[in-house]
């Protein structure tokens, strides 16, 4: 076994800032070499620190999948729910505990295939939570089946000759369903991802951050795109930052330019505000506003 290496032995060791947020007893994690999920966790850890939210009042909810593992690795109140049900679980958590900060952290298949209905309705009702989607364009955990995000012509185990299903454009779906904050970055954009997560957490209402991420083991290998680093270099060379872009225009085509940026930032009343206002208008003084 290797000893920890430091270039200058006498220097007091500064801890990796992500470590205080991780369950170090569960490391090393199960993610493959060059998988982007771990990098998003670095960004998330820094975003939480910078946003100065009270970690005792922060809860993380994941569904099932490689990304769903994030909840189990974080040293925070975290819930690993059943497949697709992170958002309804998170909605209940928020309704019962309105002062909690809720972050849903899950994969594209979990959030947009089996969980797609929950996503659009939580956005429509503007439930106050942040949804982070690690979009590797595939079902990673189960062996590389095509997801609702897989670009047309990309191969998966369920489409060995390439997919012909038009994929969802996630920022457009979030925007048109009513999300108040919508951003997309890739794992290459570590500083932007950090900033977007921070902004999303601090923005009241339903906020959404999509992070395009390499899955070298399944997506890249089957599509002959090299390893995780090759995918990262692809993002570096082929991303175009277009803040405020019309979300209709940000579709992802197979190995084509990826439009990234902050697309939506607006205010809408949240589910709880609407409920309190409406019931006050109906019942007047008789109604006690729900504050948790």
């Amino acid at each position: 076994m290797h000893e920890q290496q430091t270039a200058t032995a006498e220097v007091p060791e500064v801890k990796n800032p992500v470590e205080s947020l991780l369950r170090m007893d569960r490391m090393p994690h199960i993610w493959c070499p060059g998988c982007g999920i771990g990098t998003t966790v670095n960004c998330f850890a820094r975003a939480l620190e910078q946003s100065k939210v009270d970690l005792d009042k922060t809860a993380i909810v994941s569904g099932i999948g490689c990304t769903g593992r994030v909840a189990g690795y974080l040293n925070l109140d975290s819930f690993h729910t059943t497949h697709g049900r992170a958002i309804p679980f998170a909605t209940g958590l928020k309704l019962a505990n309105p002062d909690l900060k809720i972050v849903v952290y899950s994969g594209d298949g979990d959030l947009f295939a089996i969980g797609g209905n929950h996503f659009i309705h939580a956005a429509r009702r503007n439930v106050d939570m942040t949804v982070i989607c690690v979009n590797n364009l595939i079902y990673g955990m189960t062996g590389g089946q095509v997801a609702p995000t897989t670009p047309v012509t990309a191969k998966g185990t369920t489409y060995p000759y390439g997919s012909y299903d038009p994929p969802f454009n996630l920022p457009f779906l979030a925007d048109s369903s009513g999300a108040v904050y919508v951003a997309r970055w890739t794992v290459y954009h570590v500083h932007h991802v950090t900033k977007a997560i921070k902004e999303a957490i601090l923005h009241r209402g339903f906020s959404f951050v999509e992070i395009i991420s390499p899955c070298p083991t399944l997506y890249s290998r089957r599509n002959r795109l090299g390893d995780g680093l090759d995918q990262m270099k692809f993002y570096q060379e082929n991303s175009e930052i277009r803040h405020g872009a019309n979300t209709k225009d940000v579709d992802i085509d197979f190995q084509k330019k990826i439009i990234v940026g902050k697309f939506v930032e607006r205010e809408r009343k949240t589910y709880r505000q609407l409920m309190n206002e409406h019931l006050t208008s109906v019942f007047g003084e008789q109604y006690t506003k729900y504050e948790g």
Binding site: Q5, A7, V14, V18, E19, T39, N42, L229
Partner: protein, 76 residues
């Protein structure tokens, strides 16, 4: 202008040899060394420690929480 000197700590046992740190270090201070960890992954090392500014970017990129950089001193 004051320059800073940084260094990195590498947890060799956690590294999976993806080379994100090597590729995205802004000063080119790292390379994959000739040594392998117990799982057979090639691990990075500083090529030239004077090049490291302790910017911490390697740690932000590393998907395995296996490296991080920090400032150790200011150099006049």
């Amino acid at each position: 202008m004051k320059k800073v000197q940084g260094t990195v700590v590498i947890k060799a046992d956690s590294c999976k040899g993806c080379a994100f740190c090597v590729e995205f270090c802004p000063t080119g201070a790292l390379h994959l060394s000739d040594s392998y960890n117990a799982k057979g992954y090639r691990i990075p090392e500083l090529i030239d420690e004077t090049k490291c500014t302790g910017c911490g970017l390697c740690g932000l990129f590393c998907p395995d929480f296996a490296i991080h950089g920090f400032i150790i001193k200011k150099v006049a």
